[in-house]
Amino acid sequence: MANDLTNSYKTGPDENGRFGIFGGRFVSETLMPLILDLEAEYERAKTDDSFWAEMDFLWKHYVGRPSPLYFAERLTDHLGGAKVYMKRDELNHTGAHKINNVLGQIILARRMGKTRIIAETGAGQHGVATATVCAKFGLKCVVYMGAHDVERQKPNVFRMKLLGAEVIPVTSGRGTLKDAMNDALRDWVTNVRDTFYCIGTVAGPHPYPAMVRDFQSIIGKEAKEQMMEAEGRLPDTIIAAIGGGSNAMGLFFPFLDDKEVRIIGVEAGGKGVNEKMEHCASLTGGRPGVLHGNRTYLLQDADGQILEGFSISAGLDYPGIGPEHSWLHEVGRAEYVAITDAEALEAFKLCCEMEGIIPALEPSHALAHVMKIAPDLPPDHIICMNMCGRGDKDIFTVARALGWDMGQL
């Protein structure tokens, strides 16, 4: 039987929200009843055709799904090896994959009668997606964003404000995604009765990692069908960038039991995975710990204090990773590598020049790894990478990194 569950990688999490030892529900008592309610609501919605009918309708007419699967011909020729396909989730409404998940959570929030939505955001893409869907449904939206990220992602801050969201800069810690998540949790603990916490990645307490994965799995589901149509077979390798890991989990999940498909997650290597920890590569340079409601690989010191990551990409600047990735890493179903800021910038430029696509810095990491491995692979090897976001928001950061003066163009 094809669906031999004992040999499936798709059965997790268990009833305690665990993927192996990873995941769980490590939250304060105030939040426990809320996440149990959410889990019950999600379990009901999962098997409710009307829920998925609403999702499908909005995915099609509001987000613009399915996103294309695009053969990057010039890039393929340039690299001189494997065939490179891009799953174009950067073409979604709001410019990234984040909205796939936000729609699902907001529909759940509405079913639960919640009127106030909070979210954390790093690069601002999840914040923009949440602000967008809240505007569409007339819900109050509050977005927590690290003060450092507010500085480097100004266009997205302005977009959120245009969409009617309140953006709260978070100054605790180093003012990045981790600190934004702390403050969002503090808000949630304070406003439990009317507030729904819309988490942007496959992390946090159960059921978030599984729920966000399920909503993002539309990416891999479409990619699989589109690849069958384009090539008549599955890709040999699939590649995605990982901060918390939602776009990657979305691409990977439908392929987990297709054992001939090689799966590669690309973490942010920052200035290099070194003992100074100037990176965000949790799997490559961290060890298991407990933060933000789940057990997973974390960047931490010998005392178990959480370290601040470092990456040019605000969306990957998180010291943890979704628990299912930690599990896939330990069981060896997926491999995880790190790409440095410099390598990601090279990929960013090449993608602009070769394909006329300005990628976000996050998928530029995935593309950089494609550039590393494609030249040594045969021409009949098919790679599918997830172009999970567009780079409009990053042009100021890139200009600075490349030494361009925007005033002198």
């Binding site: 305690n16 008592e29 009843p33 603990v189 005392d303 178990g304 204090q305």
Partner: protein, 263 residues
Amino acid sequence: MTRIDRTFQRLRAEGRKGFVSYVMAGDPDFDTSLAIVKGLPAAGVDVIELGLPFTDPMADGPTIQLAGQRALEAGMTLKRTLELARRFREDDDTTPIVLMGYYNPIYSHGVDRFLVDAKVAGIDGLIVVDLPPEEDEELCIPAQKAGLNFIRLATPTTDDRRLPKVLTNTSGFVYYVSITGITGAANAVATDVGPEVARIKAQTDLPVIVGFGIRTPETSRDIARVADGAVVGSAIVDLIGKGKSPDEVLEFVRGLAEGAHSA
């Protein structure tokens, strides 16, 4: 029977309410912190909650966050926190110490090794904010086996259906969180808290102590009246953050303790 059990037995026999104080271990530095902790029993503190510093205290407001940062910057660690407890125990073998914090530093240290080290240091109980009953296998059950109390938080969102689960595997006392929110934020109101304490006491014989949102001797008294005792943290930590001397801090603590004891 732990020092916590003995303390509440004594308070009950004397017909008195208890006063619990929270300070962050190593705030603003090891020596000042030790001087404050050593002075707490004489200032009227019945149970000492000792904060274990953590970089990401998700249930705490700015006051406790900053205290943790000061302690970490001054070189505080889990090991040094246990060392502080051990130094306190050199002069005081009766006042219970409850270590309060988050799970990751303990998990990182290794649960089995931590329980041995905590016991040796003279720790009597644990409050670990991010370990709800659903995660009891992690630390709660091993801790009770090792002879440490595991004190659970009950909150306004803990309804009657869930309360038995929260009270299972709880020992020492129940810590009722008076508000939905973080430490140092809203004010506790005795008329709201009273019925909630009664609701919990209907299901357990353990003492119920109330914390969060208590900043003055008057509130300390009002809350202690409707419970078995009151906890104050942020208001004390605020003074430490302002650079007050141990004597000034302890003077303030004395007022809060008198408030609770007058109830």
